[in-house]
């Protein structure tokens, strides 16, 4: 990982690039820095904190935030007294681990790489645009990014929102949407896609802190098109947050407050006094986009984002250069994470010949038998002065002297330093220790290091326990040294009690069958199969229909003009000729057994006499089951031949008939969606309507096209098409739920009655055609969910393992999801998600084995009564009920177990034990906790 680095040049070609990188000096040696933070405390100079948007001060020597990676401090040369004025250097003697190095110089290096992934993120909206809304002119106008830091509990104000002008708590708060987005005035014609959702989030956070705050969000369209995003808006409305469709003209000071001037849809001008204004700033292209394009030779679009095609969304003009994240187009966290996985998968395909080269396998001494005698060593760390400036480390070290089983104890300045680790290893061997307690920092960061040391010393790595007397003691009780010392002693005593009962736990690995089963042969399934084949892995596509292709075949072209039919044909041909892909058509999954790495599925194909059952052994499964058009009631669909869906209209427009473009058409958005039959937004329908409207205007410029909508959700660059449609005369009229459009027949003519919210009157039209934008429903997820024990959302889509950070994985290991089975989405997002699912699925396939954490659950079959409670409670499908002789017994599938212990705490006969966290061990800890209370009680009496 190279941080503080600049990308200077790229030479060569795919598979053989040379990238020139400049490493800026951080003036701190990354290997030595323990991230103790002492340097920042001593540094005398102030530095405006860029991470907190300049709302707080830090020091030139600092770390951006607590979780920064690498966890190494750095010096900003702009304000460092030594680097600017050749003075100070206080940090040098302060640093106990001698990590400060002012001799560091900028360094250039050439990296030989086979592929390049560009993820520079997004830039800032210019000050000129913000100034239109009073930013800079009035302190109580802030950007949403500043506001995010203000509301953050770990931010500069610990989450307290105050007006900068006089420190009062704002009572009335306004969010202004689309600042720097959907605005040709600043040449940002696109929609930034994320601002509606983050404004709702920030508003909810404030409202939860102070329910009396009045919050209004001024918007053009609320674009909460993502999975379950509309539910957040509904929650916001239920909490009293107001949404006003209006264009804000300006923000001016008024008495000691601010006044908002805005115009509503019906042309009225309104004024509103507020205490604070939050500008929902859009995502600008990255500042150095042009430079990146110059270096890499990729093409940019008109807004300076990386240009790519709808059907290959992550590849650029230059082969081997891949793009992901906001640079590819404004997007939120789940989309960015998905694209990142997909990009990694594409790159892994390009580099597959080099896979595994350069890996060095480390060898360890044979694990020794620990015998019956408990021999505990306790090592207490000073962590420089991080622990010992508060906690009396010597007192803690002395306190273990007479504890049962403790045969050795000592303290050290830095337990984690290279020499201390070597000493620890020698001490274990010399004193024949078979349990180790390290009282230092967090096991979350340092346990792997000490486990490794135990292995080097010939001990099982599970025989170490860490006590966190730094993060959870000295750092948080700085003013109470005695109490902190007492706490450290207690925690150490509890850990000693725990390790007494520790036993070596075997490290297991389970082999992986290097093959994927892909359910669904549409664009998602085929893309996933080809991505896996590109990495060298076999897959079986199971397609319910008679042919491959899915629903993409129903489209003619995409909004950006890519021809879908041609692409689909090409894709099907590629899949068919690829020797690594087997296709089973007219097939369905009837049974699945096993776990990650070792699934055995039964697939049924054909009907009647041709019916056959196949068993497929596979290591992973990708669900790409797709969805279909919803056909709502109430709009005369399937009753009048003048009412069609957008898909049917698209087909008609693609035909050759002379009158294929109707003279007049009314399109109704959200027909059956967003609270009607379907409770969600299907994401693609607004783009679909705009695409068809443009096509009609192309064929017949005189046609009258009226689109009745709730919020036009042409997010991202599709906003250009929406604008184009308006320029070409397509009329867009919003409706609300109290005035839903009505479609009815009178005699032979078809009527649409609606309330024109611009003219403020009831309108009745008799168009030639009504096109309904209907939603998408998932195919067969109910049955599959039961078969796979994989959960669904309320709307019957598969629920991912983590909505933001693991968007293509299911909670059950070895199962992945992509396409419409996950949520409705357009073609480009489906392709990227399929590539991502394949990339994630390839991880266990590449490794060839799954390592099992030794702390998994274990069922004692003698005690188990076979009640099955554990199997029904396990969230990871990691417990199966098996027959042992004539009895039913629970059995842990170690490869799937996440060691949560829910099974263990619910077992009525205490038959389930957790490695490293047994009932006996935890009880011993609790008893050790109690020992001091007894002592104190005795002292008092």
């Amino acid at each position: 990982m190279l941080t503080n680095a600049d990308f200077l040049a790229l030479a060569g070609k795919q598979g053989d690039f040379t990238a020139r990188i400049r490493l800026r000096p951080r003036y701190i040696d990354t290997d030595s820095c323990t991230a103790c933070g002492l340097c920042t405390q001593y540094c005398p100079r102030h530095h405006v904190d860029p991470y907190n948007e300049g709302l707080a001060l830090t020091r030139p020597i600092h770390i951006d935030y607590a979780q920064a990676v690498p966890a190494t401090y750095y010096i900003d040369p702009e304000s460092c007294l030594y680097l600017q004025h050749d003075t100070c250097q206080i940090c040098v003697p302060v640093c106990q681990s001698h990590a400060i190095n002012f001799n560091q110089q900028p360094e250039e290096l050439d990296l030989k790489v086979g592929a390049v992934i560009l993820t520079p993120g997004f830039g800032r909206i210019s000050g000129k645009t913000l100034a239109k809304f009073g930013y800079e002119a009035h302190p109580d106008v802030v950007t949403s990014i500043e506001f995010e830091r203000m509301t953050s509990a770990s931010g500069p104000f610990q989450g307290e929102v105050k007006c900068f002008s006089d420190g009062r708590h704002p009572h009335r708060l306004a969010f202004i949407q689309c600042v720097g987005s959907r605005d040709l005035g600043c040449d940002n014609g696109y929609c930034s896609s994320v601002c509606c959702m983050y404004a709702i989030k920030e508003a909810l956070v404030v409202k939860e802190h102070d329910p009396d705050v009045e919050i209004t969000i001024y918007y053009m369209d609320i674009r909460t098109q993502g999975k379950d995003f509309d539910k957040a808006r509904e929650r916001a409305e239920a909490m009293g947050i107001k949404f006003v469709r209006a264009k804000v003209a300006g923000v001016t000071p008024w008495k000691n407050r601010l006044q908002l001037t805005y115009s509503t849809l019906d042309g009225r001008h309104e004024f509103e006094p507020v205490d604070m204004v939050v500008l929902s700033v859009g995502l600008e292209s990255p500042r150095d986009a042009a430079g990146i394009a110059d270096i890499t030779g990729i093409e940019l679009n008109r807004y300076d984002f990386a240009k790519s095609d709808t059907l290959s969304p992550l590849t650029t003009r230059r082969a081997g250069v891949i793009v992901a994240g906001a640079f590819q187009g404004p997007k939120d966290i789940p989309e960015s994470v998905t694209q990142a996985s997909a990009a990694a998968g594409i790159a892994a395909g390009l580099l597959k010949k080099q896979r595994g080269q350069g890996i060095v396998h480390k060898s360890y001494p044979r694990e020794k038998d620990i015998g019956d005698e408990v021999r505990i060593g306790v090592f207490t760390c000073h962590c420089g002065i991080n622990i010992s400036s508060v906690v009396d480390v010597h007192a803690v070290d002395d306190s273990v002297e007479d504890m049962e089983g403790v045969v050795y104890h000592t303290d050290s300045l830095y337990s984690c330093s290279q020499d201390a680790i070597e000493t620890l290893k020698q001490t274990i061997i010399e004193h024949n220790l078979n349990r180790v307690v390290i009282a230092a920092c967090s096991p979350r960061t340092h346990e792997p290091l000490f486990q490794e040391t135990l292995k080097d010393a010939g001990l099982n790595p599970c025989l170490v326990e860490m006590v966190n007397i730094r993060n959870q003691c000295s750092w948080v009780h700085a003013a109470e040294p005695e109490a902190a010392t007492d706490k450290s002693k207690d925690l150490v005593r509890m850990a000693v009690a725990k390790v007494r009962g520790m036993q070596p736990l075997p490290e297991q690995t389970v082999p992986v069958m290097p093959k994927a089963l892909i359910v669904g042969g549409g664009i998602a399934g085929m893309t996933a199969a080809l991505t896996l084949a590109g990495q060298g892995f076999d897959s079986v596509i199971l397609e319910q229909g008679a042919t491959l292709g899915g629903h993409l075949g129903l489209l003619n072209h995409t909004l950006s003009g890519s021809e879908t039919a041609k692409y689909l044909k090409h894709l099907v041909a590629q899949v068919k000729k690829d020797g690594k892909i087997e296709v089973l058509t007219s097939a369905r999954l009837v049974q699945i057994a096993g776990f990650i790495g070792n699934f055995a599925s039964v697939v049924a194909t054909g009907t009647g006499e041709a019916a056959k059952e196949h068993t497929v052994d596979h290591g992973v499964i990708i669900l790409a089951t797709g969805g279909h058009e919803h056909r709502p009631d109430g709009y005369l669909l399937d009753k009048s031949n003048k009412v069609v869906t957008q898909l049917e209209l698209e087909k008609r427009l693609a035909g050759k008939a002379r009158n294929r473009a109707p003279g007049s058409v009314v399109m109704i958005q959200c027909a059956g969606s967003r609270g009607d039959d379907l409770n969600y937004c299907s994401k693609v329908c607004c783009n679909h309507a705009v695409k068809n409207a443009l096509q009609i205007k192309e064929i017949n410029p005189d046609a009258q096209v009226i689109v009745l909508y709730r919020d036009m959700r042409t997010y991202g660059f599709a906003e250009d098409a929406y604008r184009e449609a308006r320029l070409k005369g397509v009329v867009f009229i919003p409706y609300d739920l109290d005035h839903k459009p009505e479609v009815y027949e009178k005699g032979r003519s078809l009527h649409v009655k609606f309330f024109d919210s611009i003219l403020r009157e009831e309108t009745d039209l008799t168009p030639d055609l009504v096109a309904l934008s209907v939603g998408i429903v998932p195919d067969g997820t109910d049955g599959l969910s039961k078969l796979l024990k994989a959960p669904l959302t309320d709307d019957r889509f598969f629920l991912e393992a983590h909505v933001k950070l693991r968007p293509v994985e299911l909670p059950v290991d070895g199962m992945y999801v992509c396409g419409l089975a996950h949520t409705p989405k357009p073609v480009d997002e489906t392709i990227a998600q399929a590539q991502a699912a394949a990339a994630k699925a390839a991880i266990p396939l590449v490794k060839g084995s799954v390592s099992v954490d030794p702390i998994v659950s274990h069922v004692d079959q003698d005690t188990c009564i076979g009640c099955g409670l554990c199997a029904s409670l396990c969230p990871f499908a990691a417990i199966e009920m098996v027959k042992v002789g004539k009895k039913r017994k629970a059995h842990t599938i170690a490869a799937s177990c996440k060691a949560c212990g829910i099974c263990s705490s619910h077992c009525p006969t205490f038959a389930i034990s957790m490695g490293g966290f047994t009932n006996e061990q935890i009880t011993a800890q609790i008893e050790a906790f109690g020992e001091v209370s007894e002592k104190e009680t005795t002292e008092v009496s």
């Binding site: 750092w475 948080v476 949560c900 212990g901 829910i902 705490s905 009932n919 906790f929």
Partner: protein, 67 residues
């Protein structure tokens, strides 16, 4: 309640969330009272009600589960 009441609190912290948050609180140097003694578990799902009762038996004035 008198000011000199110093409750002894036993905490069960989930490794993935509450324990991690307690680590982060340390990094940010947030100060809080030193009355808590913690036991790290891999998930609060591991906390058997018997542990809580046992904690009270052993003299805890309060039990905290964070997950």
């Amino acid at each position: 309640m008198s000011d000199d009441f110093k409750p002894r609190i036993l905490g069960f912290l989930c490794n993935w969330c509450c324990y991690a948050a307690a680590d982060a609180a340390g990094i940010s140097r947030y100060q809080y009272p030193p009355n808590l003694r913690t036991i790290r578990v891999m998930c609060t799902g591991r906390v058997d009600p018997a542990f809580i009762l046992r904690g009270f038996v052993e003299g805890a004035d309060g039990i905290f589960t964070g997950g």
